[in-house]
Amino acid sequence: MIPLYQPGQRVREVEQVRKEYPDKVPVIIERYAHENQLPPLDRSKFLIPEHVHVGELIKILRRRLQLNSSQSIFLIVNGRNLPANASTFAEIYRNEADPDGFLYIVYASHETFGSSSPQECAMTDYNNRFSN
């Protein structure tokens, strides 16, 4: 998921980037590992201006991933929290940044539900293929 780094490498990287862009926060945005409805992003490291709101990022991601308005996308910070749409990245970074200096965000859509007899689902796919 995340490339392996030598210890301290990320910290140095963040220091470097923070020095250069004091008004931007380093963020890592990735697709949730079990996500199968949303496409992956072509890159994961982003610099986001501090004044940008979460709502704007969702808007950007929606356009980037070419989602239509009926598809759901949720950002989860640190694997736990949904950030409030009106909060800026300065606030989130202050509260949620990892000790290594990055802010980790995962995006996912809704989980799907189905139960015990998946053979039937496989059969359906099979049938659909033939009916088409």
Binding site: E13, Q16, V17, E20, Y21, D23, K24, P26, Y32, H34, R43, K45, F46, L47, I48, P49, V52, H53, G55, E56, L57, I58, K59, I60, R63, R64, S69, S70, S72, I73, F74, I76, G79, R80, N81, L82, A84, N85, A86, V106, A108, S109, H110, E111, T112, F113, G114, S115, S116, S117, P118, Q119, E120, C121, A122, T124, D125, N127, N128, S131
Partner: protein, 577 residues
């Protein structure tokens, strides 16, 4: 000469045989790898099965010990012990059923992934498929553990108490009940809610030969329960309640909207096909958001006039002005001429100008598990009088949550396969029995922590005052909960709003290009992603932004950027905003 050519020939022959042996070596190597891979996968599966047979054995032993203790120590062993033995035996079968289903899941996984056993192209794919196998096994394990926990829990609590015996009130659909005093009322409110389950032997769904929704339709069933609840609230009195003799024609009309035929507008068939038009083939698993979208499509179509506006608040934001606009402009009074009469349910509205609103807020409150910090927020949502439940579930198992008691969430479970029946006018005994299959007296319950994080919270607002009450009450409650579930705002914040987005985006592009030129990011090889959409106005400004960045790149870069180039360039940061 001759010997020389002969020598060459033998040389060639030797190299050829060398090549041959090399290629056979390669094949052998590959075979070895494949064998190793298969070995690993088989080991995984065997360890998984062994682990669960041990668990099963342990469970049997515990059951036996309990039975022994009971039959020896309790004064009336015959009736009690035989009763509980029967119950335990049935529970035991449930567990073996779980094991069997998990194995069938494994088989299905193998069917789906031909590379499961034979991925030998390179080591990375075989590794990833091995990891995938591990993940699937993990998920299966989690499912079985939940099932066994539930069975044990049912055994320990006697298996037949519908509500926890506790002092704290039970909240169902925004009303509180006391288990000690209002138990009858509580049961009545549960049985008045429609319980819609898997059905079998219905007429096949268009284009497929599916005649049962077992295993895939549970989320659709949860969605049907939700819309049924909304319809009952919309068209029947507040104090209406169901009993086995109830023959209210509006109630019967609502039931007929949901029956499993091709023509009923809210049938499984229609919802599945509506889902198919949203890119989810019939028979595939759905999430709460997709089901809500499918229902919205049906409810807003011309052929159905049920006088309910379904609004889905995307991106965890309820925008009040948008909802009010939608509810005031769509007039449900003037019925389109083309509507077949069977799909109309019309009763007078309490507020003639306001189209009754079913508000659905899809949320994701965690990645694989529900973040406990959101539990107070969920409880707050259940306590709003306009709440009509939450569609969601536990992993792979869709449920319709109707309320909570203490630390447990109460739900109606669609996972029971019943034969397809038709209630129609409910005059004969058969039709009466058919109606009984749409109601259940006992809700299921489980702890909040077992909930899947993907949920959709639902409210039904009959009047504008109802909607305002939902917003203000939720606003108040979310202020005191550790984390609010979602946001409520008057109008879409113009920063990312759709209407005024172009102007604000152009300004942000300007600022970003300004900052980019300041820090000469183009010299570092960074790309600047502009906020501007593909609409004409912002495009030109975005282009302008790019040209500025490029010109900045052309200018001689400062010493700082020159140094950082070697360090940061290959790390490939992208500047957003």
């Amino acid at each position: 000469m001759k010997s020389c050519t002969e020598g060459k020939k033998t040389d060639i022959a030797i190299t050829k045989t060398n090549e041959c042996s090399r290629s056979t070596e390669k094949i052998l190597n590959e075979e070895k790898q494949v064998n190793q891979h298969i070995g690993k996968v088989i080991c995984l599966e065997i360890s998984f099965l062994v682990e669960y047979s041990i668990l099963l054995f342990a469970y049997t032993v515990v059951c036996f010990l309990c039975w022994l203790v009971e039959s020896v120590l309790i004064p009336f062993p015959r009736t009690l012990a035989s009763n509980s033995l029967v119950r335990r035996l049935s529970n035991w079968w449930k567990v073996t059923d779980g094991l069997e289903s998990s194995y069938s899941r494994l088989l299905w996984f193998r069917m789906q992934h031909p590379g499961y056993f034979s991925s030998h192209q390179n080591s990375t794919t075989s590794n990833s498929s091995l990891r995938h196998a591990e993940q699937v096994l993990d998920r299966v394990k989690k499912g079985i553990r939940l099932k066994m926990d539930k069975v044990l829990d049912a055994y320990l609590t006697g298996g037949d108490s519908d509500f926890p015996t506790c002092e704290s009130p039970v909240w169902i659909f925004g009303r509180s009940y006391s288990v000690n005093y209002d138990i009858e009322e509580l049961r009545r409110s549960v049985s008045s809610c429609m319980w819609i389950t898997y059905r079998k032997n219905f007429s096949s769904i268009g284009g497929t030969n599916l005649t049962s929704d077992k295993g895939w339709g549970c989320m659709i069933r949860a969605g049907q329960m939700l819309v049924a609840k909304a319809l009952l609230l919309r068209h029947l009195n507040q104090d209406w309640h169901w009993d086995s003799e109830c023959r209210d024609h509006l109630y019967l009309q609502i039931v007929s909207l949901l029956e499993d035929t091709k023509v009923a507008p809210l049938s499984l068939h229609q919802i599945a096909q509506s889902g198919a038009s949203l890119g989810k083939p019939i028979g595939s698993w759905l999430g709460p958001n997709t089901v809500a979208q499918a229902l919205k499509k049906i409810l807003s179509s011309e052929y159905v006039s049920l006088d309910i506006a379904l609004h889905i608040a995307m991106d965890s934001t309820v925008v009040k002005s948008e909802i009010k606009k939608a509810c005031f402009t769509t007039s449900g009074h003037a019925l389109p001429i083309s509507v077949p009469p069977a799909y109309i349910v019309s009763t007078p509205r309490p507020d003639a100008k306001w189209k009754p609103l079913l508000l659905v807020v899809p949320l994701r409150l965690g990645l694989s598990d529900l973040n406990e910090a959101y539990v107070p927020g969920i409880k707050a949502a259940f306590e709003i009088p306009q709440n009509i439940g939450i569609i969601g579930g536990r992993p792979n198992h869709a449920l319709y949550f109707i309320g909570y008691a203490a630390n447990e969430v109460l739900y109606l479970d669609p996972h029971t396969v019943q034969p397809t029946v038709f209630v129609s006018t409910k005059l004969t005994e058969v039709e009466k029995a058919a109606d009984e299959t749409y109601h259940i007296h006992k809700p299921g319950r489980m702890s909040f922590s077992a909930m899947d994080p993907s949920i959709a919270v639902c409210f039904f607002c009959k009047t504008e005052a109802d909607f305002d009450a939902v917003c203000s009450k939720l606003g108040e409650r979310f202020l005191v909960t550790p984390l609010p579930l979602f946001e409520i705002c008057e109008r879409r914040p113009h920063d990312w709003g759709s209407a005024s987005f172009v102007s604000s985006s152009s300004s942000s592009v300007k600022t970003s290009s300004k900052s980019a030129s300041k820090s000469s990011s183009a010299a570092l090889g960074f790309t600047t992603l502009s906020l501007g959409s593909s609409s004409g106005g912002s495009k030109s400004t975005a282009g302008g932004g790019h040209s500025i960045t490029r010109s900045a790149g052309g200018s001689p870069s400062s010493s700082v950027s020159g140094r950082s180039k070697s360090d940061v360039d290959d790390e490939d940061f992208e500047i957003l905003g």
